[in-house]
């Protein structure tokens, strides 16, 4: 592969690129998340579609310069629809040897490596377990466009006489890297200067320093002859409207708050901090004026218990967690099933079993969501497909929980929760309110109230404390099918088990039919669920023109009515998942005769588009 030599400034050309993926990597304390999100904001303002994903260690601060302490942020921006944060970066910004070592293998061959060569001293090389300086290695220069920049020294020069300590000066170097990127991608610098001012309002000396360094980085990239070209990513054709960026966890919190507004009822969120779900509780605790009450309970069980208690009182009880917490909550979810009270459980999946890989993504809680309770305890299960979709999924989970008087499990994952994308803010009136009705009068002969007397859809009434005359008791013991009082009668139990199951089956009236992207019948159907939507849709687009279609399941229970029909319209069904084949197993059980092929990666990362495409091509023969 030939790598072009650097060109003099005068000959520099502006190259149009449709999409680009940039990854910023450095030590946990180097501020990679900061510059990553700042560059993302600038790209959003420039009209790009985008998708981002941070990658940070489970330890808050692993030893400086160590391999374990590398933190990263990847952004994929494009002039067309962007579905994922990108398979392989086109540009890697590496701030130290450890960051280079842990990320270089992902950089696309021929991609650009901007590296802080100043950090490649003996001590850092040793911490990264390099025997010799990789920047002097010919292989590196052969495979990539290496741009070594003495960011440490250049930052120091920029801040000479600033009065900051050398430690404080060193902290500014991330903005040097950001300044270079702004020049390379032709971003206007003024909004960034404003943003730094806003960020450091309380410490103006740091604002000045970071602005100086940012501008120095920009000027350096412009005047040095290290860069052959500059790049422009055109604006994407996005649906017109007002936009903001959201991570999946933010969007989930916003969706729950929106549900409070649309239903006119209090949302009560009782949770316990757990990675990667914590941000939902954090965000929500600011939404007091939106009728959201938050409660950080003493443990996972108390979190969901408080939510069920609030639901008994007429609020929309919600709880948020991740795998280990879901396991702890399972007895409580069973109680919500038998009580038939509305409840939303959000599970932001992470690598398991046990503590597993808290900061890494996985889709391995599907079967637990569907079946992980003792006794016959069915409940609706849905999964969000993108960070922005977490908003709509959370609202839908609430709507279903209230309408059907049932707990609902919403699955997202670490990839969606931490990932971000532009989110079009719905216009006023665009979102439909959903009514909540409490029972306020007796519903049975003799002026009695029967809490388990059902309507035609098998839904029971919701009567809340404070309503005179409807005083009643609910509990975890099997209950009489009308009065709700304790019943040990076997036939009554069988009736109740079947009734509860039928009620959840009836939810299918709210589940839209499965839509197919691509040919309505043919060779291969890609079937996905949850957070893999982006990777699989991008793969299907890449396979355009071939006999390949894509269908995505938002609802896992109940499944759309036409699921079997869709699956039978293709010779082969391929289920790509970030687990060992859970949807595939479920499909085999639900649709006898269909034996889906599997594509499973369980490496803590989103699915790679190129791998899915290769797999499909192999199937097509």
């Amino acid at each position: 592969m030939s790598i072009p030599e650097a060109a003099p400034t005068s000959k520099r050309e502006v190259e149009q690129v449709e999409t680009v993926t940039i990854r910023f990597v450095g030590d946990s304390g180097d501020g990679m998340q900061v510059i990553g999100s700042e560059f993302t904001k600038a790209s959003a303002l420039a009209g790009n579609d985008l998708s981002t994903f941070p990658d940070f260690p489970a330890e808050i601060r692993a030893p400086a310069g160590s391999l374990a302490g590398v933190s990263g942020y990847q952004v994929h921006l494009g002039g067309r629809t962007v579905y994922t944060p990108g398979d392989a970066p086109d540009v890697l910004v590496a701030m130290n040897p450890a960051a280079l070592k842990t990320n270089i293998q992902d950089l696309r061959l021929g991609g650009m490596l901007i590296v802080n060569s100043g950090a490649f001293n003996e001590a850092n090389l040793e911490k990264a377990l390099y025997k010799k300086n990789p920047l002097e290695d010919d292989a590196l220069k052969k495979n990539y466009r290496v741009v070594p920049v003495e960011m440490n020294t250049l930052t120091q020069h920029a801040l000479e006489g600033s009065g900051l300590s050398s430690k404080e000066v060193a902290r500014c170097k991330n903005y040097f890297a950001l300044g270079m990127l702004y020049f390379l991608y032709g971003r206007p610098t003024e909004p960034q200067v404003q943003s730094i001012r806003a960020k450091f309002t309380k410490k103006p000396e740091f604002a000045d320093a970071n602005i100086k360094v940012f501008q120095a980085g920009h000027a350096f990239a412009e005047t040095s002859e290290l860069f052959v070209n500059t790049y422009r990513v055109p604006a994407a054709k996005l649906r017109p409207g007002l936009y903001r960026n959201v991570t999946g966890n933010q969007a989930t919190a916003l969706g729950l708050a929106a549900a409070a507004k649309l239903s006119g009822r209090q949302v009560f969120l009782g949770s316990y901090p757990i990675t990667p779900a914590t941000e939902i509780l954090q965000e929500s605790s600011y939404f007091k004026e939106m009728n959201v009450v938050t409660y950080q309970a003493e443990d996972e069980i108390a979190g969901i218990g408080s939510a069920i208690g609030a639901s008994f009182g007429g609020a929309i009880g919600c709880t948020t967690t991740s795998g280990p917490g879901l396991a702890l909550k399972s007895e409580m979810i069973g109680l919500a099933v038998i009580l038939e009270l509305p409840l939303v459980v959000v599970n932001v999946q992470r690598g398991g079993p046990s503590t597993g890989m808290p900061t890494k993504t996985e889709q391995a809680d599907l079967l637990m969501a569907l079946f992980g309770r003792h006794g016959e305890a069915p409940m609706p299960v849905l999964a969000a497909k993108s960070p922005g979709d977490c908003f709509y999924s959370a609202m839908e989970a609430v709507r279903i929980a209230i309408k059907w008087m049932t707990p609902v499990l919403l699955l997202t994952d670490g990839y969606l929760g931490f990932g971000s994308e532009p989110f079009r803010i719905p216009e006023e009136g665009e979102l439909q309110p959903f009514a909540v009705k409490y029972q306020t009068t007796p519903n049975y002969e003799g002026g009695k109230f029967m809490p388990y007397l059902r309507d035609a859809k098998l839904i029971r009434p919701w009567a809340v404390p404070g309503t005179p005359g409807l005083e009643h008791r609910v509990g975890g013991l099997e209950k009489d099918s009308l009065s709700g009082m304790v019943s040990y009668d076997g036939m009554n139990h069988e009736k109740m088990v079947k009734t509860r199951a039928q009620k959840i089956a009836n939810v299918v009236e709210d589940v839209p039919d499965l839509e197919v992207f691509g040919p309505a019948k043919g060779e291969v159907l890609l079937l996905s669920w949850g957070g893999t939507f982006g990777s699989v849709r991008a793969s299907a687009e890449a396979l355009h023109g071939k006999s390949v279609a894509h269908a995505h399941l938002r609802w896992l229970n109940p499944m759309p009515r036409n699921t079997g029909e869709v699956l039978r319209s293709y010779r082969k069904v391929l289920v790509p998942e970030v687990n060992n084949g859970q949807l595939a197993l479920y499909v085999r059980a639900m649709f006898p005769g269909i034996d889906p092929l599997q594509h499973n990666r369980i490496n803590g990362k989103a699915l790679n588009i190129s791998e899915i495409v290769a797999k499909v091509n192999e199937l097509l023969g």
């Binding site: 507004k261 009782g270 409660y295 008994f312 007429g314 609020a315």
Partner: protein, 350 residues
């Protein structure tokens, strides 16, 4: 206060009788169970506390005591083992205007539910917890409980328990409860007074009720309730009165400032006079003396205190939360969804 309840409160409270609080379901406790006496006192109390029947909620976990809500004609939840405080906490925060009672037992509250117990106490949520302490697992037919005595022989400790028991009021005090009391199933009148004070207290309220289990731990409290020993064995704590006990109230509890301990004195002996005796004050901010009193029941040669150990006023967790919520609502007014969703860096796509 804004609530989730769409209905408005009734103008005047009906005149209730005890019967209004009976659900009509016959209690299924064993004949002679102490629980009958407790529910009787609670049903006698509720007509007089000035709270509408529909605004009272009983929440329980699992165990004999936890069947309680089924027999009360209020709103009620029979939940999971040990978890009743968590439901009550959520409901109280969500609907602070409701009066919440948690009914629990020694196993439910202190073994499987120990974590919820201490956190409910320390938060000072306005929740009233009645813990029936029979020092045994009754519903599972006779296993050692966290309040069983050291050496207790049960089905799971055939050679005697090697576990030291909890002292529930001491635990509640240590966890920060603002109201801590103890009564006895057989002492109906005493229990009635304690329960009334509990009903009136705002904040985390813990009442331990010694309760006899005639089937699996019969006679657990005869050392305290038998006529012959009662006067010597019980220390009745009454606010503003000296801590006297024994036949003709001849004994008293004195604070020994040398050893910094409580000690028993006999009036008229070794120069002890009534003014040396500690005057009971459950309203001290510092719970230290209350804690010392609670621990008397562990000490040989001391009487077992019954009555109110502690009753102090502190802003409740629910009040503090709603102060913040209401001020946020007052500050922002009715926020449109669009405005709420737009409160971030935004940009327009044409």
């Amino acid at each position: 206060m804004s609530t989730t309840n769409g209905t408005t409160a009734a103008a005047a409270l009906p005149t209730y009788t005890k019967k209004d609080f009976e659900s009509g379901v016959d209690p299924r406790w064993c004949p002679g169970c102490g629980d009958f006496s407790i529910i009787n006192q609670v049903q006698k109390l509720l007509p007089s506390i000035g709270v509408a029947r529909e605004n009272i909620v009983f929440i329980s976990g699992i165990g004999c005591s936890s069947r309680f809500p089924y027999y009360m004609n209020n709103y009620g939840m029979h939940t999971l083992h040990g978890r009743a405080p968590s439901f009550a906490s959520g409901l109280k925060l969500s609907r602070p205007e409701l009066q919440l009672w948690v009914v629990t037992g020694d196993g439910d509250a202190l073994a499987i539910g120990g974590n919820h117990f201490i956190h409910t106490m320390r938060r000072n949520l306005d929740i009233k917890m009645l813990m029936f302490n029979n020092r045994i697992y009754g519903l599972t037919k006779g296993q050692v409980s966290p309040t069983s005595e050291l050496g207790k022989k049960t089905k799971t400790t055939p050679y005697g328990s090697a576990d030291y028991p909890f002292n529930p009021p001491a635990l509640a005090l240590g966890a920060g409860a603002t109201f801590v009391a103890r009564s006895v199933d057989l002492e109906g009148a005493h229990m009635g007074v304690v329960l009334k004070s509990a009903a009136e207290h705002r904040g985390s309220t813990f009442v331990e009720i010694y309760q006899n289990c005639p089937v699996f731990n019969d006679g657990a409290y005869t050392f305290l309730t038998e006529k012959a020993v009662k006067a010597e064995a019980q220390l009745r704590m009454e606010e503003g009165k000296p801590l006297l006990f024994g036949k003709d109230n001849r004994k008293g509890i004195r604070f020994n400032s040398q050893s910094a301990e409580l000690e028993v004195v006999t009036l008229g002996e070794k120069g002890a006079v009534e003014k040396d005796v500690l005057v009971h004050n459950p309203r001290r901010d510092d719970p230290t003396i209350a804690f010392m009193l609670a621990n008397l029941s562990n000490r040989p040669g001391f009487p077992t205190p019954i009555g109110i150990f502690r009753a102090v006023k502190l802003p409740t967790c629910d009040d503090l939360n709603w102060k913040v919520i209401n001020s946020a609502k007052a500050k922002h007014g009715d926020v449109s969804l669009r405005k709420f969703l737009s409160s971030a860096d935004t940009w327009t796509v044409e």
